[in-house]
Amino acid sequence: MRNKTEKNAGSRRGVVLRLVKTLFSFYPVLLPIAIICIIFDAVISAIPSVFMQNVLAVVEDTFQSGDWSAASGAILGMVGILGALYVLSLIAGFTHTQLMAIITQGSLAKMREKMFDGMQDLPIKYFDTHNHGDVMSYYTNDIDTLRQMISQSFPQLLRAVILCLAVLFIMLYYSVWLTLLVLLGVVCMIVVVKKVGGGSARYFLRQQQAIGKTEGFVEEMMNGQKVIKVFCHEEEAKADFDKVNDELFENSRTAHRYANMLMPILSNIGYVLYVAVALVGGYLLLLGVPNISISGLAFSISIVVPFLNMTRQFTGNIGQMSNQVNAIVMGLAGTKRIFDLVDEKPETDEGYVTLVNAKENANGEIEECAERTNVWAWKHPHHDGTITYTKLQGDVRFYDVDFAYEEGKTVLHDISLYAKPGQKIAFVGSTGAGKTTITNLINRFYDIADGKIRYDGININKIKKADLRRSLGIVLQDTNLFTGTVMDNIRYGNLDATDEECIVAAQLAGADDFIRRLPQGYDTPLSGNGASLSQGQRQLLAIARAAVADPPVMILDEATSSIDTRTEAIVQQGMDALMTGRTVFVIAHRLSTVRNSNAIMVLDHGRIIERGTHEELLALKGTYYQLYTGALELD
């Protein structure tokens, strides 16, 4: 990550190019139309100054005579053309602002979808190794900066550049000498923008960092607010906060200072330049220096005056561009982060064995069928073109499995175990012993380094991940419920389940009782991870969700550890009902929940150090015995 950000400066152009390409791919028709309208609008905006000047010139020539009829033809003719140009400009302006509104919001939506879709396909490893707050900020902060850039910065920049080019052309048309003078002033302005604008951008980025730091500090303090109260530590907390807060203040003040000063400086340089053009123009007139220009016109007042107007237009647009500097610097940083997320490598899947509905034919052989039979089989196509079917039973075996999250740091060593259909296998051991890691391997959240895992006799690497996971149910320590009704949350386990099936699952889990007592029963809306429910109730819903999925293999990862002993008794009944007839892997802190397992594995530093039934392990008087009698600490 760090290397990438360091290259940021160099790859800024790459980010711009890619962003533009992406936007074009989103709106291949509308975007070009919008751009053409912007260019058209800009060019038209540059022309009126010429017309105005001509009108003024006519007025100048005739006003002494006081004869309106003599001048009216020329004036009204010019105003007519000008009016027509204005109408065109209005149409172009209306079209591009409307189109940009559509394009901006549409592109943001598509960008969000792209990010979200990409994110769904990322391996679990990504979520284990990235701070969730950071990932969230792609969707909030970074998308916001992108919006600013697409809707404001890009169009304004484009418009300003085109206008400047058009004005430059007209200026050259009149006089090269004066144009050179204006360009000299522009160079001054660019230096200022670079210096002041660069400072502003630097401090804005620093301000972002300071905000992040403040956020982190506040979060830590708010989390521990009750502890602060208990220890009467308020004054110290205030002093610490002041330090962080003042740093943020200093950075943001400097950033805003630079930004606020840029505009007045630029606009006044514009005025000075204006005066310079007037002076030099006047001087050249006096001296009678020969003019060089596209038009071939000689120096005269009718050149100097429109030139003055154009100078203002030119410098005004430079100011416009400079206004976008901060937005663009921050926007590009945000866009880069968005692209980084989109570019993350998705989870790969080379599996080809799939799970299909099946039935047994008269010969007792298994064959595939389209309708739902509640009998499943693994469909295994072989190299020679034949297809074999293996009934889904839930037989899981590990053969000498090694695993490392990071290369070189093996966390599991030589794990071998057999779980026959319907058996309950328990893992016991302290934090970091590798219990959860083992379950992460069964559903291929992570891939093993060495050894083999077979599911119903098939190497799990050959099974399509989606189908493998569909055949496994999982209940985790931290329940995650989704915004929606209670029914929606149960149905999450099996989208095809009818209401009745969901209720049956809830009954099996022992959740039906409390759900019916909720204000709107199964239709009670849940939000904020089921904040309105107790820990035990949430856990029961998670169990119901697993029950409706009805998988042959279940993984229960510390499913009851945060529930007190008395509530656990209720949850336990649900769990027991759920476990019947399935292959189950249990990880538990509370040894009472693993006592009736067919086999208990005691893990230590990634190795199985003891294995056997509860009675066998007690008789062994080893680690398990010590844990069981409370002589050893588990954490």
Binding site: F63, L90, Q105, T214, K229, I265, Y274, G281, A569, L634
Partner: protein
């Protein structure tokens, strides 16, 4: 609302006042400069001497420099004023939160407090910057340009009177139409982001149930809904620009025709060429300021919601107040509950504690046992006045807790909370929370009592070991022991452990209790536990059930007479079932 926010301006009042003044000056110059430029153009066109141009030029350059100075100063003061307000707002909020009672803290979630102190403050800061700069600048610019227009253009300037109301009405309509949509869509947008957060957190569930495609579909529907609403609002808002350009063009055309007509027919008496060209300039300025004004209006309305959320924090009054003449010393560690009832909020219909009568002698060891929701933690939180009773009184050392200075009381009644937290910093930093001036020896002694010294000594940096935020780099049992040591450093008269040894193994747990008995015998100790083993040697054990005291007695008495206690005991022992947790 504005009054409350304005209180946070304080030392940044000077820049807040200077900014509009400087801006006013800047505006004056910005209006004079075009006027002079018009004059200069006239002079040049009249074929003036070089010296005239130089004179005008010098004045113009001086004015531009002055304007630059004023503008730059205004910008700088404005930055100080707005960032200063933001700084004070954050500070005031943080300080206010420090004065909150537990009841107040329960009201706000951590994440909402963090957003209020960052995003919301930034929004208000932006709006404030707009107000003291642009909101002053735009109307001033409008008025000045208007006056100048009339001064110079006379009758022709009447066109402004026509176009300004048209533009003003159109812009108001646009803002009025878009604001409700924006408000609605911002809520939807929040919901969309909340669903992303939910998805990230629940990724294991999503993947386990192979719901990636389902989640994508769900997200696309929501994202598209947000897009549709945003687009609708932005398209209306996008009308601003063409409407404004229409007015500019209209005025241009009118001035060019009607202006030329006036100049020619009056032979330059009512209006001369220079004036006519500066009318064109002012036209642009007037309409531009109207446009800015409407944008300021949009910004302020958008910041309103944020301002409300900030004010909510600032106006939340702590539900606990120090008494007027507080008692400054705690006599001993005796505790009395007299007819105490308690509920968490006035609206709650369920009492969390009902009719508690309990008398604890100084130096006694009390165990408390009961299921979740039996209000064990609630009971002990009343002792150090983390909440006030709803009915009845709680006395410590024979004095009502409400009569003590809160700091004195809490220093003498040390509570090790169930949800305990270590802060980022070294172990020593964390221990000093208990006593700012603790010496190394005192810290080691406290850690020895809490059975923490042994593992701390094994860390490479010993007591200088850095603890990560939330204490994630020490184990649960180690964290609990450090928290106990931290509380011990207070040398309190009453020590309360709220399920504070749940992750500690039984042997160490016993050692801690033994150390307490031997080294701090005079301290009253209250121990809440899930594990019967942690309380069975207490002088008395309280069995809590549904907010009432079900029974009080020694281990033996309760085993004989109390149903609940026996049930818990057998579930943990008879089947040989010790909690390993």
């Amino acid at each position: 609302m504005i009054k409350i926010l304005a209180k946070s301006i304080r030392e940044y009042k000077k820049p807040a006042i200077l900014t509009p003044i400087l801006v006013t000056g800047e505006v004056v110059f910005e209006c004079i400069i075009p006027y002079l430029i018009a004059q200069l153009v006239n002079q040049i066109q009249a074929g003036c001497e070089m010296i005239v141009i130089v004179k005008y030029g010098t004045v113009l350059v001086v004015l531009a420099l002055l304007s630059l100075l004023l503008g730059a100063m205004a910008g700088s003061y404005c930055a100080t004023a707005s960032c200063g307000l933001a700084r004070n707002l954050r500070k005031d909020m943080f300080y206010k939160i420090q004065s909150y009672s537990f009841e107040n803290i329960d009201k706000f979630s951590v994440s909402s407090l963090v957003t209020r102190m960052t995003t919301d403050v930034t929004n208000v800061q932006q709006a404030y910057m707009m107000i003291i700069r642009a909101a002053i600048r735009s109307p001033l610019m409008l008025i000045f340009s208007f006056i100048m227009g009339f001064v110079m253009g006379g009758r022709v300037a009447v066109i402004y009177l026509v176009t300004i109301p048209i533009l003003a009405i159109a812009l108001t309509l646009v803002v009025r139409k878009t604001m409700p949509i924006f408000r609605k869509v911002f809520k939807k947008y929040d919901a969309l982001n909340a669903s992303v957060q939910e998805n990230i957190r629940g990724m294991r569930v999503v993947k386990s149930y192979v719901r990636e495609e389902y989640e994508k579909k769900k997200f696309h529907v929501a994202a598209d809904d947000v897009r549709a609403d945003f687009t609708r609002a932005e398209r209306i808002l996008a009308l601003n620009n063409p409407i404004m350009m229409f007015c500019v063009y209209l005025v241009m055309v009118v001035i060019l025709t009607f202006g030329s007509y006036t100049v020619i027919t009056t032979r330059g008496l009512d209006l001369n060429v220079g004036q006519m060209s500066s009318l064109l300039t002012y036209n642009f300025q007037i309409l531009m300021s109207l446009m800015m004004l409407s944008m300021v209006f949009v910004m302020i309305t958008m910041a309103e919601e944020s301002a409300k959320r900030i004010v909510e924090v600032l106006t939340e009054e702590s539900s606990l107040k120090n008494p007027e003449n507080p008692v400054m010393a705690v006599k001993d560690g005796s505790i009395d509950f007299d007819n105490v009832s308690f509920k968490y909020s006035k609206k709650a219909d369920r009492m969390a504690l009902k009719d508690i009568n309990l008398h604890i002698r100084s130096g006694e060891v009390i165990g408390i046992i009961g299921g979740t929701g039996s209000s064990k933690s609630t009971l002990i939180q009343l002792i150090s006045r983390l909440y006030d009773t709803t009915e009845g009184t709680v006395k410590v050392g024979g004095v009502d807790v409400r009569e003590y200075d809160m700091e004195v009381l809490r220093n003498q009644v040390a509570v090790v909370l169930q949800k305990n937290v270590l802060f980022s910093g070294t172990i020593k930093d964390n221990l000093r929370w208990g006593n700012q001036d603790a010496t190394d020896e005192e810290m080691i002694e406290a850690c020895k009592l809490a059975q923490a010294d042994e593992f701390v000594q094994q860390f490479p940096d010993k007591y200088d070991t850095w603890i990560e935020q939330g204490g994630t780099n020490v184990s649960g049992g180690q964290k609990q022991r450090l928290c106990i040591a931290r509380a011990l450093l207070k040398k309190p008269k009453i020590l309360i452990l709220d399920d504070s040894t749940s992750a500690v193994d039984t042997r160490t747990d016993a050692l801690i209790r033994k150390a307490f008995r031997e080294f701090i015998p005079e301290t009253t100790k209250i121990i809440i536990a899930q594990r019967v083993a942690s309380v069975e040697d207490a002088d008395r054990i309280i069995v809590m059930d549904g907010g009432t005291i079900n029974a009080i007695g020694t281990h033996e008495e309760l085993l004989k007479n109390n149903e609940i206690y026996r049930e818990v005991y057998t579930s943990q022992n008879k089947a040989g079932d010790n909690d390993a947790q």
